[in-house]
Symmetry: C2
Subunit: 216 residues, 2 copies
Amino acid sequence: MPPIITAFKSSPDRGRGLARDMRVRWAFEEVGQPYEVRLVSFGEMKQAPHLALHPFGQIPTYEDGDLALFESGAIVLHIADRHPGLLPGDADARARAIGWMFAALSTVEPPIIDLQIAKLLENDKPWAEQRLPLVEERIRERLGQLSNRLADADWLDGEFSAGDLMMASVLLRLGDSGILEEYPNISAYIARAEARPAYKRAFDAQLAVFIAASNG
Amino acid sequence: MPPIITAFKSSPDRGRGLARDMRVRWAFEEVGQPYEVRLVSFGEMKQAPHLALHPFGQIPTYEDGDLALFESGAIVLHIADRHPGLLPGDADARARAIGWMFAALSTVEPPIIDLQIAKLLENDKPWAEQRLPLVEERIRERLGQLSNRLADADWLDGEFSAGDLMMASVLLRLGDSGILEEYPNISAYIARAEARPAYKRAFDAQLAVFIAASNG
């Protein structure tokens, strides 16, 4: 039995591949391992059976035999730990690649989520328009620093790793905000990530769920 | 030579132990390993020598021989990987403990940071007072879910782990907001964490830096 992950029954991004199951699908594809998907609705995510798997009522989760995990970072790291292809063999390089996973999730993603909150949850508030530039500026500070570090390298630290998988996934959430285009080397980095066959397979798999739901 | 970490030369929280070097100090103390500290000023953090260690210009960093790491999550995981005391021996339990590290940093800490941003960086904005309850409500959603999962257990998953170290560190950032007190089992969880001898040693070490700087 392959591991089972959960994903949105009804994709809030309409199949654009921005939900966090995409990161896990991509990791499975990079290491060439099969997986199965159980789709959950927004209502089901907040009910006891799903909360037993994910205390914060989100997706993705991961089940493999007796092991249940949540948090996309933990799941991708677990997959990368068990199968070659996403972490370097050298111990120091491996620690640095894991460092980039944490950087993506703890340092780069939070201001990007704040922009989504500002645009989706606070867009009807009286401060919405005036506050938006502050939120965008915090993202630019991080992207400027990331751009400086990346420079003209293909990936963040040597070969493509789980750190790049997570960083590219996080950056893609900026979508059509127009901010990514201000950093040509980051835009090229994301394009390299999206061009990977494993990314494309994962993207097509999550898109198929949206198309099936739309026709259903 | 023990590993060298960086910490604030001038603690922005005046020795309250909320900066991210505290997590790394605590991890070293839990596993009984020595470490050295190099103090950096706010100015130095944004200059080339420090940016070479930490592209986002923050603390802590970690240097051990040829290996340099940044991100408190990555550093604590590296310490926990190398020395017994912070991760279970059982592979599944280990993966779950790492999952709680990611949950602390990716799911629980971001709304707490947003509260600090609202109180410290946006407190002079016209929306400050009106927006604060929204930010606090997002924290309460997470803490309610965490409280439900923790129930009457001592720690998040069996014995104390790096997951608890990170979760307690993140929750402590709520400080005197009054929010923690609404969740008695979380307050008791934090008190258990603070009562650990390793926590106390780490806290005293960072406090000594503040006291020395104040007298200097």
